[in-house]
């Protein structure tokens, strides 16, 4: 009898557990579904302020729109500093037009400093380690600053093995870089050499080779294809597989690279709060991260691998804490290269 009742209790317990789990699951599903319904009801638009490049966006955003019918993403795309400037301008005029803000983390922090972002803990962010999330953001993807070169202009034996190689005078007048990539000097100082002097010393030597600067990483990649320069010092690794597949004469260095975070955040007083929340949760979820990988980005979710080989062997990871030191290293970077 006792045994029987025990069995019943166990069975009941199991049933309750299953029911609770099922309930939790439906709650989970329901809440995304509910958000979806509410998002459609509030206008079906998502004003998406993001640096996601066109070639990535045209894969990722349709996946979102397909998953949540009735929603249309209005992608306001520009370089990250222009997006911040735009959002700040709008806020000054008393208008919030953006729903979701997705850019390099430093720009997300600038937006937060301006008091424009919502403090929110997304359930999906639980899967992310500390360092890939904050009180108002969660990582959307990672990007790797790598060296890359044009294979018609760089002979096999010339191919760089590490960044030190670029200090060699044979690279004189053959290098391009992005003028804002102070991350390089910071990451080398903190993680490659663990010394400011050594990092500055290396970059000063590289600077002697007369670097040509162009804004925008996609443009750097494209200039490299065109032969504007033999090699690029601060290109994004995810820009290369897609071009190499098209037959572009390119290769890139996977031995070492600097990683930085792109973050997703929701605007405070967003005009479409439900759409905003829906996108932010989706893109942080396994499904959204797979979509990011499919779109050619480097997912931040620990369980999702990038589609292409874009993670370097040695990674110098720029953390959210490092961002506070950006002004210091920006000054150093600009001094080394005499930039404005």
């Amino acid at each position: 009898m006792v045994r029987k009742s025990r069995g019943v209790i166990t069975a009941l317990g199991l049933l309750v557990a299953v029911l609770v789990l099922a309930e939790a699951k439906t709650l989970w599903a329901q809440s995304l579904d509910e958000l979806h319904k509410a998002a459609v009801k509030e206008g079906g638009t998502l004003n998406f302020y993001a640096t996601l490049a066109q070639i990535n966006a045209e894969i990722v955003l349709p996946l979102f729109e397909k998953r949540f019918p009735g929603l249309k993403v209005n992608h306001v795309d520009a370089t990250s500093d222009k997006l911040v400037a735009r959002a700040v301008s709008e806020a000054r005029g008393g208008r919030i037009l953006g729903d979701v803000f997705q850019t390099p983390l430093e720009n997300v922090l600038q937006m937060h400093d301006q008091g424009l972002l919502l403090e929110v803990k997304l359930p999906e962010s639980a899967a992310y380690p500390e360092g890939l999330k904050g009180s108002f953001w969660v990582a959307s993807d990672l990007q790797f600053f790598v060296a890359a070169w044009n294979t018609t202009l760089v002979k096999k034996e010339e191919e760089p093995k590490s960044f030190e190689d670029f200090a060699h005078p044979r690279w004189k007048n053959r290098l391009i870089a992005e003028p804002r990539d102070l991350e390089m000097v910071l990451a080398f100082a903190k993680y490659k050499f663990k010394s400011d002097e050594k990092s500055i010393d290396l970059w000063k030597k590289i600077a002697l080779n007369n670097i040509e600067f162009h804004k925008g990483h996609s443009q750097l990649a494209e200039l490299l294809v065109a032969g504007q320069a033999a090699a690029c010092l601060t290109c994004y690794s995810h820009h290369f597989p897609i071009r190499i597949k098209k037959g572009a004469p390119l290769n890139y260095m996977l031995s070492e690279g600097v990683a930085s975070i792109n973050g997703t955040a929701v605007f405070k007083n967003a005009p479409h709060p439900n759409s905003a929340m829906l996108y932010a949760r989706w893109v942080a979820s396994l499904e959204g991260q797979k979509a990011m990988a499919q779109g050619g980005r480097n997912p931040a979710h620990p369980k999702v691998e990038p589609t292409d080989k874009t993670r370097t062997e040695k990674i110098y990871f720029i953390t959210a804490a490092d961002l506070k030191e950006f002004p210091k290293y920006e000054k150093i970077w600009k001094e080394i290269f005499k930039l404005r």
Partner: protein
């Protein structure tokens, strides 16, 4: 000029006039003040404000200090001055040479070069810059590589990312304008003066130097001035070539002040006010000089045909110049865009490249939503801007020239104000105005519509007033005498008579709106993005071959507008 009977407010003060005709000028003034003056007021206000904490402002003069007493003030001033004067000079020389060869000499085949010289007018400045980057980039520019191979040079001869590069690119885009102005000058020149010189024994060169050239000096001065001002105001070349080359001029400084973190409205505003003052001064001098030059004008009622200079054997050199100009300046930029539009990624013309040619970029664009959205926005905006600007200006021009209302000159002045406002300055002023405007049009195409209408009202005014002055008032008086009201007269007599001029103005505004860049660059966002801005962002993102394909389609659209223009007006060239 006589007046048409506008209803009088009989017995002034005894009752409010019932006829709406008197309200029309007031309404016109209201619209013009709203469009042209209010944004400038906001701009000036903004230039005295500084942000002390997020969204907290104080009034200060610091912005002017930051704008005009910084370590960069001198270099910006110097670059702007070299860029504007260099471009004005080069544009003027090329335009005058073209005009002289085609109008006043016996250069063979000169007739066919007249329409060809005007063709680059339809090439948007953004595309012009992109095409020349393809041609003269210091590392891969086609023309550079070709010249290097041809002459066995060690290094590539040209670098577009330099001040001379900026001057060249901007100039070749402006040549049609100088050409048209100089053609007009040459056409209106009384040949008897030159003939007298010849009769007195002067040869061709002496006649040109001592008579023709001197007759041209007043016109040349004003053409140079307007070219200088237009270069100072331009942003296409400074954005696409100047910024990457780290050569900053006033317009790019304004743009950068807006796009740095945190955006520095105050400094941007102070720079914009300075540019506005410079440009207004230039325009004022220009109008003064053209008024002055009328005192010496050589256009008389006498029927004459300008004399043709016999260049002798030199006429073949003239033809050679025209051909070289046509091939390198007009054809090559089109061809390079066309070639690049068929490539998967940028590559020089070669057999290897030939194998990579495909329609992939066009296929891609067919399914690329932002392209269609931008195309739609551009077309809607061009049509609406042209319609609105022509409606406003035909009314205003009619009030100014046909009514003798006291103070109607104020309307004329107000309609002229926008010509002094550089595109980027207007963009900035409109952001300041509309971002906080109670009606939420900021970020939509409607704010762009307001911007375009404002910018192009002076052009519309020109087209409309030209036609209005030609209409004899008898026709309107006859209508009025037959009992037609003011509105009926305007609608049934004046408007139909104005139609050809209005259509020409309409199409011209359509074209300039379609290619507009410097105002849109600050105002167009995701949803309201227009083609020129899509080109710019995608070029920045490095999708250069897709950009080339968009460029080709954009040119095709513009060409069809021009074809329509020819069909409707049967005229050669555009009004300047």
């Amino acid at each position: 000029m006589s007046t048409v009977a506008l209803p009088r407010a009989a017995k002034a003060g005894s009752y409010i006039p019932r006829d709406p005709a008197l309200l029309v000028p007031l309404l016109g003034a209201g619209v013009l003040i709203y469009l042209a003056v209010l944004p400038l007021f906001m701009l000036v206000m903004g230039s005295f404000q500084a942000e002390v904490a997020p969204r907290e402002f104080v009034y200060t003069l610091k912005n002017y200090q930051a704008a005009y007493a910084s370590e960069y003030t001198y270099s910006t001033f110097k670059n702007s001055l070299i860029f504007a004067s260099g471009s004005a000079a080069l544009t003027f020389i090329l335009g005058t040479l073209l005009a002289w060869l085609t109008e006043r000499t016996n250069t063979p085949l000169r007739g066919i070069f007249v329409p060809i010289a005007v063709v680059p007018l339809i090439l948007p400045g953004v595309l012009e810059s992109i095409a020349w980057i393809f041609l003269l980039s210091p590392k891969f520019g086609y023309l550079n590589v070709w010249l290097k191979d041809l002459f066995g040079l060690q290094t590539l001869p040209f670098n577009v990312f330099s001040l001379p590069g900026m001057i060249w690119v901007h100039s070749v885009g402006q040549v049609p304008l100088a050409f048209l102005m100089m053609v007009a000058a040459f056409k209106s020149m009384d040949p008897s003066l030159e003939e007298s010189a010849m009769m007195s024994g002067a040869n061709t060169w002496q006649t040109f130097r001592r008579v023709t050239f001197r007759l041209l000096i007043p016109t040349a001065g004003s053409v140079l001035l307007i070219l200088f001002v237009r270069t100072l105001e331009s942003f296409e070349t400074p954005a696409l070539i100047g910024i990457p080359a780290r050569l900053y001029v006033y317009t790019s400084e304004i743009f950068l002040a807006f796009n740095e973190y945190p955006p520095d409205y105050g400094r941007g505003g102070a720079l914009a006010v300075g540019l506005l003052v410079l440009s207004a001064l230039g325009v004022w001098l220009y109008t003064r000089s053209t008024k002055e030059s009328k005192k010496f004008q050589t256009v008389t009622g006498k029927a004459f045909r300008p004399r043709q200079f016999d260049l002798g054997a030199w006429r073949w050199a003239g033809l050679g110049f025209l051909i070289v100009y046509f091939v390198f300046v007009v054809l090559l930029p089109f061809l390079v865009l066309l070639w690049a539009s068929f490539l998967p990624f940028f590559a020089p013309p070669s057999w290897d490249g030939m194998q990579k040619l495909s329609l992939e970029n066009y296929r891609y664009l067919a399914g690329f939503r932002p392209f269609w959205d931008a195309m739609k926005n551009s077309i809607i905006l061009a049509t609406l801007a042209a319609t609105a600007a022509m409606s406003i200006t035909s009314l205003v021009a009619w009030i100014v020239y046909k009514s003798r209302l006291p103070g109607s000159w104020i309307l004329d002045f107000l309609a002229f104000v926008p010509i002094t406002v550089p595109g980027i300055v207007l963009g900035m002023a409109l952001i300041l105005l509309y971002v906080a405007f109670p009606i939420p049009i900021y970020g939509t195409i409607w704010v762009l519509l307001i911007a375009y209408v404002t910018r192009f009202i002076p052009y519309g005014m020109r087209a409309a007033s030209g036609s209005i002055l030609q209409i004899h008032s008898e026709l309107e008086e006859a209508a009025a005498a037959s009992g037609a009201s003011w509105w009926e007269t305007f609608r049934r007599v004046t408007l139909p008579l104005l139609r050809p001029g209005l259509v020409a103005g309409w199409i011209y505004i359509c074209i300039v709106s379609f290619r507009e860049f410097s105002t849109s660059v600050l105002l167009a966002t995701g949803e309201s993005r227009v083609l020129s801005i899509l080109l710019f962002t995608m070029f920045e993102q490095g999708q250069v071959t897709v950009v080339a394909a968009i460029g080709v389609l954009m040119i095709a659209t513009l060409l069809s507008i021009v074809a329509l223009f020819y069909k409707l007006t049967g005229r050669v060239g555009l009004q300047t």
